[in-house]
Structures are given as C-alpha cells and as structure tokens.
C-alpha cells in the first residue's frame, strides 16, 4: 500500500521527518519498502497568466498564447483546445525546465513561429491522469504568476511504499497508520474532524423509524426539510447476519457529479488510484483514509428503495462495475435491491447502480463483512480489489458509524447536496470487546528481558487498548481490552509482541542458550545420503539439482515410469508432474550442455523420486525415495587424449569408486532377467549393479531411442543407485574390518588365455582364481587383445596372478606347481590355449 507523508502529518498533527517515519514504521513491523519524493524536479514550471491569444499564422490547430510568468511576457505556441481567455492561469514550463521523462524545454520553431516555453497538461507534468488538455487553475488555487508549480499546487510530498503483513488491516488506511505513528513517536492520537456539510436534511419520513438509526453528528451550514425531496424510505434487510454482522447506510441528495478539485485528484493519483468523479473519488479517499471500503449507489437506480443482504442463488449472474458478467455460487454474498443484485458484497459494485453523471441521490454503504466469506468469493472469481483486500483481512466493525458520517460529509462537501441527518446502523451480531490477560512474569520469560509493568501498560494504551493492572509481585498482570480495529490481538502472546514491537526488537538483549543434546542425534539415513553425495563428488562428478517436477513427455521420452503425482495447478505443462526418475533431468542438462558445445559431461544428482504411495493420517502421500543418478558423456578428461570418449567402463569405475568410498564394498555388474524392465538402457550394453550379492541399481549405455528423443549426440552412459538398497547393504556389512598386512613376499605370474569372444572376462578370472585356491591373493586382468596370432572370433585375456602364503615365504617351486594347475584348469574349462 502507498501512504502520503503529508496526509500522515495532517492526521498526526505534527511535522514529521520522512526518514524517521520510515525507520520507525519499519522497526515496528510496518515495512517501508520504498519512498519517493513528489514535486521535485519541476523547478522550471511556474504559474503563468494568459495575457492574450491569437491564431497561429500557418497551423490551424495551434494558437499563439502570450503569458506572463511574474517577471515578463513571452509568446508560446499551444495546441490545446482549452486555453483560457486573458486573465486565466495556466502552468508554464519555462525555457530550460526539465519535465518528467527527461524532456527539456528549449526554444522551438513551430510552423515558423518561435515558442518560448510550453503550457503543460497534468500528464506532461506527471502530476495527474487528465489528458484532456492543459491545466487551467481554478479558484481553489490561490497563486500569483511566477509561483512554482509544486508550491502553488501543494505537490511536495513523500509517498511511502509499505509492505504490510496480512495481520495488520488497521494499517491499510492513513488513519490507522497515523495511530501507529502516534504510538511510536509519543503523540496523542485524535480522530480526524468531520467536514462541515453544506446542507442537512431533516429525516422526516426518509428512514424507517423501526430500524436502527443514529445521528451522523454532522455540523450543517444550512438545513432543509426532507419531505420535499420525495425520498421513499430506504429499508435494509440482512438475511445473513453471520456474514454481514453490521451494515450502515446514509443518504445524500441533490449531488452534482463533476470532476473533483485538483488536490483530491492529485492525492488519489499519487496514491495510485485513478480519479473518476467527485462521488467515486470521495469513496476512494475514505478507503485510503480510514482503510474501510465503502460503496456509493445511485439511489435512483436502487429498485424498491430497498437493500437486502443475501446469498446468491447457484448460477445467478450479475455484471460488475468492470463490465464483466459474473456467474455466482451459493457461497457468494450479494447486496441486492428490491429486484436484483446491485453489488458483490465487499468485492465490487454492480454496473446497474453505478454512480454516473446524472446521479442526483447517493446511497452510501458502510458495512462489516465476514472476512472468510469475502475472501472465498474474491479468490474464486479472481477479483482482488482494494475493497476485498481490506475486508478479507478484517476492517474495524466498530468504525462503521464514524466512517459513514465522514463519507456522507465528504460527498456532500465535494458534490454539494444535502445529507440526511440520520444514518442507518443495522448491527445484528454485535461483538463484545475481547479481553486478554497479560502476565508480567510471562512477558519477561518469553522475551528474556524485563519490561516494567507501567511501561507495558503505556505501550498498549498507546495502541488503543484499555488496560488495568491487577495483582502484585509475581502474580501481577495486565487486564487488557482490545480495540475493535485490532482483530489480530486475541492471545497473551499477541500482546507480548505488541509490547516488544513498540519498544523495538533491537532493545531486547541477545543471549546464547545452552542447548541440551539429544540422545538420538541426526539419523543414520540422513548422514548416509550426505556421505554418498560427497563420495559422488569425490569420484569426479559435478552435482546437479533439477526441479522435482517435469512433464509427462520428459518421463516417457526417458522411458521412466509414468507419474503418480500430478500438480493440480501447475505453472506450465513442462512442470506438471513429480519425477519418477532422475534421468530426464540429467538428460535435459546434457542436451543443453551439448548445444553449448561443452565437450565433457559428468554429472550426478542425488534426490528424491516419487513412485508409488503410502498412507499417512488417513490420506495418501507418494512414496519418496532417494536415488543417485550418474550421467557420463563425452571426452575423457585425459592429457591430449583427443577422440577418447567415456564409455560403460568409465561409468563402472565411477560407481565402484563411490560404493567403495561410502561402504568399503566392491561392486559386481551382472546380467539378470529383470534388466528387461530397464527400457531406458541399451539392451546389449547394460548391467545390474550388485553389492554384496544384492541388486542396488543399474548401469548402461542409454537406449538409442532415448538418445534420439532428447536430441542428443554420442553414447551417454547412465547409472542409477537406489539409495535405500545400498544403505541396507552397508548396515548389513557394518564398518569395514581391518586385515593384517602381509609379512611375507608375494610372487606374481602372468598368463594369457585365448577364449571365445563371448566369454566374460569376469568369469574367466573367477575360474582362474578358483583353480589357484587359497594361495592366490589376486587375479587381475591387465590386457585384452584381438588380432595377430589370435584366431578370428577369439580374444586373448592376460592376467597377473599374485600368490602369497600368509605364513611363509613362497618358493618358486611351489608357485610354479600351483600356477601349472591354474593353466591346466584354464585350458580345460574354456578350451583355451594358454600363452605364458
């Protein structure tokens, strides 16, 4: 919300420093997000008197106007049609003046005539919205030629942009802000005085005597009898007292709808509202002043002189002020006349009873509506208005008579006419004031500092509370009656905040507490995930963090399971379901990287996927499971290794490194029948990852179809580890066990076996190891060869076999004997020819 410094000064009744206002309001929780000075930068614009005018010699639409700027006369070319006759006053931008937007006034030739200045419109000066012509000063502005415009029009102001939290509806108007400032700065708050009313109608038969009437308390400059105006008595019925606990109405007759005086238009403009006409402008000024939305009906268009507050019928329609036809539901509250809806209560008026140029009689509504009801309607219809914004936060129900009086007075003073002396105040559900106890001991304990009881009392009273002190010593407490403009104060803690707030949080000392450690500490599952994350980074991968939501299409392109969690109100189709796999996100990252000519891609993501569901508190939530996804593509990071690209075995090494680091366990990569389900991976280039014999994930080249769907190049490799499965293996195996270091030397023998191309190296190695028996410490493949000396369809696998006896130094003789057995076994098992 915007607030005017000058208006606040008027209401506080003292001169204020804008910087201090901003600091104090912000420090009290009413955040001043920005402040703008108004009226500065118009130094070269002055009041000027028209001394004469004549047609332009060459241009039909232009005039030559002679103006007097207090110092001298000059001739100015002007294209406006509303140039006043001699004696009229206009606003002249003198040579050298700079207008908002940076336009600088200089001598210009227009149709062969030199113009020495410019006569300005509101829009050109940035002081209003009127584009209809130049500004012609009326009698309400007393300023001699030569007076600076900002001074002449009282433009100087500071406009604050406030970021209000939803608990403070009382600050949605200048009166409430002034009350807050008074409390903060130590001034006494007074309600603004009412405008004197030009004429007042005695009620006569104008209002039904059986309804609740109150005197508006207006001070009249003249008084007239009512009967002559031919009012039918207005009658208000409230069908829904819970939703409309208070409804007030007042009548103003004989108004003349016209533009408002400049100061009102300028004030509304500066506060972000569009001036319309004096009656509508008055309602907006009341809204900005009191923070209480009111509505003005053209009373002659209210059928049957009747107002009825009722719920809409399901499917009922009405056209609101903005010209939109609204289809209503049974939950929407309506203001109706004798026949039809005339307003969507608290949200927007109806077109059918709008104030227009012909309006003569105005019915003013000032009500209190149930915030929840207004909010539901406004939200469902997407109609966030200045009015609904305030009603849904809670206006002051106690202020209805006061606001109604002020509204009637303002309309009558702006638009002329006569106010009916009494107003209507239907109050079917009066709320009794809230009473809250504030224990002094509790105040001290919660804040951690002592605030004297009299000081706490003073602060609460400054906010409008009635406070009395009860009890003594540790049992001392304040009995507080909360004012109706503070719906947010209902509990003791709310009052504690008020006391702390007015003193400023910075006045509360800081203290470091002793924190008692818990027995359980942070759970192992959380710590495991973080260790895994570190291990993946240590293995040379960069961590990616993708959105948890994506599109159905990305999931199906990545051959991932269909989504089971769907957003009801996504921002876009691209982010409309929760991911069931980390793969699509990583593939999208790779796609973007490839388009940026990145040569190497090695990313992992460790995050949640949403597959299946669990029951909780009688409702269904998705099962959220942590996965580790690894995607490799592109050049190996090696010295001048041009043309070498990462493949399956690079990814395998990465996974091995990660698993060894977190679990101290080796991995196996095997083929199993369930791999069929891994449709994202190449059916001939994929494997199951096992740890300790249990499946923990998969590894493989991506399926060409997936590569194509994501418009990728090359052969990316993907690995997925299911974190709970890996964690289970770790907890089964426990921390790594230490082995004693060998005391006797090892002996190494090499052998190469020529086997069928289809034979798996892992199986050959395992067979060798088995044949070598206990003496073999390790069997390590060190070369694989095809070509010369190896027949077609065969390959040669070369192994280092390391022998060691834990209890003695091995003799060559013994090693040779065992090694011979190994070679025999290889020949027999694989029909292999063994090369030594």
């Amino acid at each position: 919300m915007r607030a005017s410094h000058r208006w606040l000064e008027e209401l506080v009744g003292a001169e204020l420093d804008p910087g201090e206002v901003a600091v104090r309001l912000t420090g009290a929780g009413i955040e001043v997000e920005d402040q703008q000075s108004v009226g500065e930068g118009l130094e070269g614009v002055v009041v000027a008197e028209v001394r004469g005018r004549r047609p332009h010699p060459a241009r039909e639409k232009l005039q030559l106007v002679t103006v007097f700027d207090g110092a001298g006369e000059s001739e100015v070319v002007c294209g406006a049609s509303n140039v006043p006759e001699a004696g009229g006053r206009v606003l002249l931008a003198q040579l050298g003046a700079k207008l908002p937007g940076g336009f600088e006034i200089a001598e210009r030739k227009l149709g062969g005539v030199v113009s020495r200045g410019m006569i300005c419109s509101e829009v050109e000066l940035g002081i209003g919205a009127d584009e209809g012509g130049i500004v012609v000063l009326g009698d309400d502005v007393q300023a001699a030629p030569g007076t600076k415009v900002a001074e002449a029009l009282g433009l100087y102001d500071v406009i604050y942009e406030l970021g209000l939290t939803p608990n403070r509806p009382d600050c949605l108007g200048h009166v409430g802000l002034a009350r807050e400032l008074c409390a903060l700065l130590g001034h006494d708050f007074r309600w603004p005085a009412l405008q004197p009313v030009p004429a007042l109608l005695a009620p006569g038969e104008l209002l039904p005597q059986e309804q609740a009437l109150f005197s508006l308390g207006l001070e009249a400059q003249a008084s007239v009898q009512g009967g002559a105006h031919g009012f039918a008595p207005v009658r208000v019925e409230i069908d829904e007292p819970e939703r409309c606990p208070r409804y007030g109405a007042a009548l103003v007759a004989d108004v003349t709808v016209a533009p408002s005086p400049f100061w009102i238009r300028q004030r509304l403009f500066a506060l972000g509202m569009r001036p319309i006409n004096n009656v509508v402008d008055a309602t907006n000024l009341i809204l900005l002043g009191f923070g209480h939305p009111i509505h003005a009906f053209d009373y002659d268009r209210v059928q049957g002189s009747q107002i009825r507050v009722r719920l809409a019928a399901e499917g009922e329609c009405m056209t609101t002020l903005d010209g939109e036809e609204r289809r209503l539901r049974g939950d929407d509250l309506l203001i109706c006349d004798g026949e039809r809806p005339v307003a969507l209560a608290g949200v927007m008026g109806g077109e059918n009873s709008e104030i227009g140029d012909e309006t003569r009689r105005v019915l003013i509504e000032c009500a209190y509506f149930d915030p929840r009801s207004i909010r539901r309607t406004a939200k469902r219809l997407g109609m966030h208005s200045e009015s609904s914004h305030r009603f849904e936060r809670g206006v002051d129900p106690g202020a209805v008579p006061r606001v109604l009086s002020a509204s009637a007075a303002l309309i009558a003073s702006l638009a002329g006419g006569s106010v009916v002396e009494q107003g209507l105040d239907m109050h079917p559900r009066p709320q009794s004031p809230r009473r809250v106890q504030l224990r002094s001991e509790r105040l001290e304990r919660l804040l951690g500092t002592k605030i004297d009881t009299p000081e706490a009392k003073r602060r609460l009273e400054a906010l409008g509370c009635s406070v009395s002190v009860e009890g003594e010593g540790p049992a001392q407490q304040l009995a507080v009656e909360v004012p109706s403009h503070r719906p947010d104060l209902g509990l003791e803690v709310d009052l504690i905040e008020e006391v702390a707030r007015l003193g400023g949080y910075d006045a509360i000392p800081t203290e470091l507490p002793s924190i008692r450690p818990s027995e359980a500490g942070t759970s192992e599952s959380i710590r495991f995930v973080e260790r895994l994350r570190d291990a993946a980074a240590a293995a040379g991968l960069s961590e990616a963090i993708n959105y948890s939501f994506l599109s159905d299409r990305e999931l199906s392109d990545a051959a991932a399971p269909a989504a089971s969690v769907r957003l009801r109100n996504p921002l876009s189709e691209e982010r409309s379901v929760m991911r069931t796999s980390l793969l699509p996100g990583l593939l999208s990252n790779l796609g973007r990287a490839q388009r940026q000519q990145v040569q190497r891609f090695a990313q992992f993501e460790l995050g949640r996927v949403f597959v299946g569901s669990v029951e909780e508190a009688g409702q269904r939530l998705p099962a959220e499971r942590h996965e580790l996804g690894v995607l490799l593509w592109g050049a190996r990071d090696a010295w001048f290794a041009e043309g070498e690209v990462a493949d399956f075995y690079d990814a395998k090494a990465v996974i091995e490194a990660i698993v060894r680091r977190v679990a101290g366990l080796p991995i196996d990569t095997v083929l199993d029948s369930e791999l069929e389900a891994e449709r994202a991976l190449h059916p001939r280039r994929r494997a199951r990852i096992q740890v300790g014999g249990a499946a923990v994930g998969v590894l493989g080249e991506l399926h060409p179809g997936v590569v194509e769907a994501f418009e990728l190049g090359g052969r990316p490799i993907y690995a997925r580890i299911e974190v709970p499965a890996l964690a289970a293996q770790l907890s089964a195996s426990g921390p790594a066990r230490a082995r004693e270091l060998p005391r006797f030397p090892a002996a190494t023998r090499d052998l190469a076996v020529v086997v069928d191309e289809a034979a798996a190296a892992g199986e050959v190695g395992a067979a060798l190891r088995e044949a070598a028996g206990e003496l073999a410490e390790s069997v390590v493949l060190f070369d694989m060869y095809r070509g010369d000396q190896v027949p077609d369809g065969k390959k040669s696998l070369a192994f280092h076999v390391t022998y060691r006896d834990a209890a003695a130094t091995l003799t060559d003789k013994k090693v040779d004997k065992v090694h011979a057995k190994v070679m025999q076994a290889a020949e027999k098992r694989f029909g292999a020819s063994v090369r030594r």
Binding site: R393, L446, Y505, P513, G540, Y547, S564, R566, E624
Partner: protein, 379 residues
C-alpha cells in the same frame, strides 16, 4: 715377447715389472677418457677385473724368483690399490658431473597443461546448505528431514494458518493428486479432503518438519532441516522450487533473546564477525512474536565503510532481508500436544538459494537450477 711364453723366472720378473709399469702408465689415461661409469668399469676390468692384465700377472706371482717376489708383490698390490682408488675417485667424479649435467640441462616446459584429473564438486546450493548445517550442528542442533509432498494439515493447519486466511497468499501453493498404489495408474487421484479442499500439496516451507519432529519427539528439541520447497512463483528472484532451511528449539525457558543470540551467531559465523544484524517485527502465523532479520549488505559492504549508495542488491539501504523467525506460537504447541505453559521455543527459516546467491554473487536464481556445466564448474 709374450709373458705366457716366459718360462724363465728371471725373464718373467722382467716382464712382470714391465707390465706393472705399463699398467701404471696406462690406467690414468684410460680412466680419464672413459666417458661414463659403464666405460670406466670396462676399463677397470681390463686392468683389475677377474681376467684383467694385473689380475692375470698377479696369479703368476708364485712363479717369480723368490728374491724378487716380495718386492714385485708389494708393487703389484700397491698398484692394485691405486687402481681401486683411482676408480672410485673417477666414479665419484663422473657421478658428480652427471648430476651437474642433470641439474643444468634444459628446463621442463612447465607451461604444458597438467594431466586431467576430473574434479567433482557439490552443487553450490549443497555447499551452502552444508555450511549452514555445519554451523547449527556445532551449536547442538540435530538434522531432520521431511517429505516434499505434504499434507495440508502439516503445511498449514497445524502451523496455525486460519482457513481462508490471506496469510496463505504469502505462500501460493501447488496442490497435487496422488495416484493409488501402482505407479502406472496415472492421475485419477486422491488429494481432496471430504470438504473438497485440496489436502495434499508440495510443501511451501520446511516448517512442516517442525510439526513432524514435534509429533515424533518430546522436548528438549533443537532441530534443523533443509530441503526443497515449492511456491507458484517464477521470475528473476523467485524459482518455483527453492531450498529452505528451517530450525527450531523447544525447551523450558527458551526466550526471544536466545532466538536473537542464536541467529546473530549463525549469521556472523557465515558472513563474518563484524556483520551488523537487526531484528524487526513481522508476521508468520506459526510464530508470535514474529520477526524478520536484516543483515548488513555483504555485496556493497557499506558497513565496512565502502560506498554502497548505488548497490543494486540492497538498493543503497545497506541492509538485506535474510531470515524469518519468531517464538513458536502456542497454537502450534497445542497442535502437537505440548503444554504451551511449560514449553517455549523459537523457530526460524532461511532461503538457502538467497544465501548461496549472496555468497557467490549469483544474479539470477535460474542459474542455480540450469545445471550448466560451465556454471557448476565455477564453485
């Protein structure tokens, strides 16, 4: 005449003597001319090796005439020792020369690139989160976790958000439908409560973990939790998914001044001990009194005397809004079955994205979730 032909002991003695002279005269030059240790040893072998000249002659000593044997034997032994000494001196010299040559040879091209070792790294968000968690862990907070897809009840109701209240506008929410059991069932879903109100959503804050942990455990509690949260916002400073860190402490006698102490210490441990910190009132339904914390702008560092008047991050104010906080609202304690008369507590929430952006000078939140390798490799 060849020595092997010398049958006569006297003649042999003559030859022996001449041989000694010849060897004594020949080795210095031969040794000096040997270019390396290998050649030197070969030269030495020619004289003193198992079949070298001197060795061969010395084997024939018994054949020498008895009267000269002693004298010639002594000379031969002396010569052998001289040879040995000359050899080791020469070896030393050669080694010294070789070392000198090694150390004075051409320079390595130190400008060639290092051989690539892939450098893995955590995402900047993870790095920052770890840093924040480390600070709180060191103070005694446990780390906890909660689901990203949450019940309305835990995200709003039990945190004291009144139904149909504008407070929920501060957190524009994604609601979801959850398909039953089978992952392939698709969207025909559950998600609305009996009243038709959407009851399952993407959590809008990590305060859900407050409720879950308080339901699961009993005071004293000091817990932090970090994770993904979601709001329907998407612009230069708002990402629809973002990382939040939540912390809370519940015990007897926890006070607002302790909240100030913990959060001030936290911010100064992250951003430096001279960081100005200020607290001002604000509103969140689940705390009362509630507040926000501003810290000195770490981009322009006007608090260290730099000119911050044109700083775009703090807009010249010198302050950056960084934390939301407050004392746990009694309605929250009631919602989890704690006695609000006995226990008090504080809670706070901080945007991990925001701190990450401030720490690294990242201008656009979209960069954090774009995962461009060229971006990630900078951290």
């Amino acid at each position: 005449m060849d020595a092997k032909d010398a049958e006569d002991p006297d003649a042999l003695a003559e030859f022996f003597e001449r041989a000694l002279d010849r060897i004594a005269g020949g080795y210095p030059r031969a040794f000096a001319e040997a270019a390396d240790e290998h050649a030197l040893r070969a030269e030495n072998a020619r004289f003193a090796g198992p079949s070298g000249e001197l060795t061969r002659w010395m084997k024939r000593m018994p054949e020498l005439p008895a009267e000269r044997r002693r004298e010639l034997g002594k000379r031969a032994n002396e010569l052998k020792q001289r040879l040995q000494q000359a050899l080791s001196e020469r070896i030393e010299g050669l080694q010294r020369a070789a070392r000198e040559a090694e150390l004075s040879g051409p320079h390595l091209d130190v400008s060639l690139p290092g051989r690539g070792q892939p450098i893995g790294r955590l995402h900047p968000l993870s790095q920052t989160r770890n840093e924040l968690l480390r600070v709180f862990s060191a103070m005694g907070f446990d780390v906890a976790d909660g689901p990203e897809v949450e019940l309305h009840e835990y995200n709003f109701d039990r945190l004291g958000f009144p139904p149909d209240h504008p407070a929920t506008d501060m957190q524009d929410t994604f609601f979801v439908d959850v398909a039953a059991g089978d992952a392939n069932a698709g969207g025909a879903g559950v998600g609305a409560g009996d009243d038709g109100r959407a009851s399952v959503l993407l959590r809008t804050h990590t305060s859900t973990v407050q409720i879950r942990e308080m339901l699961r455990r009993k005071p004293p509690l000091a817990v932090v939790s970090a994770g993904a949260t979601f709001r329907r916002d998407d612009d230069a400073t708002h990402s629809p998914m973002f990382m939040q860190l939540e912390g809370f402490m519940v015990d007897e006698g926890v006070s607002f001044s302790q909240l100030k102490g913990v959060l001030t210490a936290f911010l100064r441990r992250i951003f430096g001990s001279d960081l100005p910190v200020r607290f001002r009132p604000s509103y969140f339904p689940f705390v009362e009194p509630g507040g926000e914390v501003d810290m000195g702008c770490t981009i322009c560092r006007s608090y260290q005397g730099h000119d911050g008047s044109s700083c775009r991050v703090c807009k010249g104010s010198g302050w950056i809004e960084i934390l939301g906080c407050g004392m746990v609202h009694p309605v929250v304690f009631e919602a989890v079955g704690y006695d609000p008369e006995r226990y008090t507590g504080f809670a706070f929430g901080v945007g991990v994205d925001r701190i990450t952006m401030l720490r690294h000078g990242i201008s656009h939140v979209g960069l954090l979730y774009g995962n461009d390798p060229r971006f990630l490799e900078q951290f």
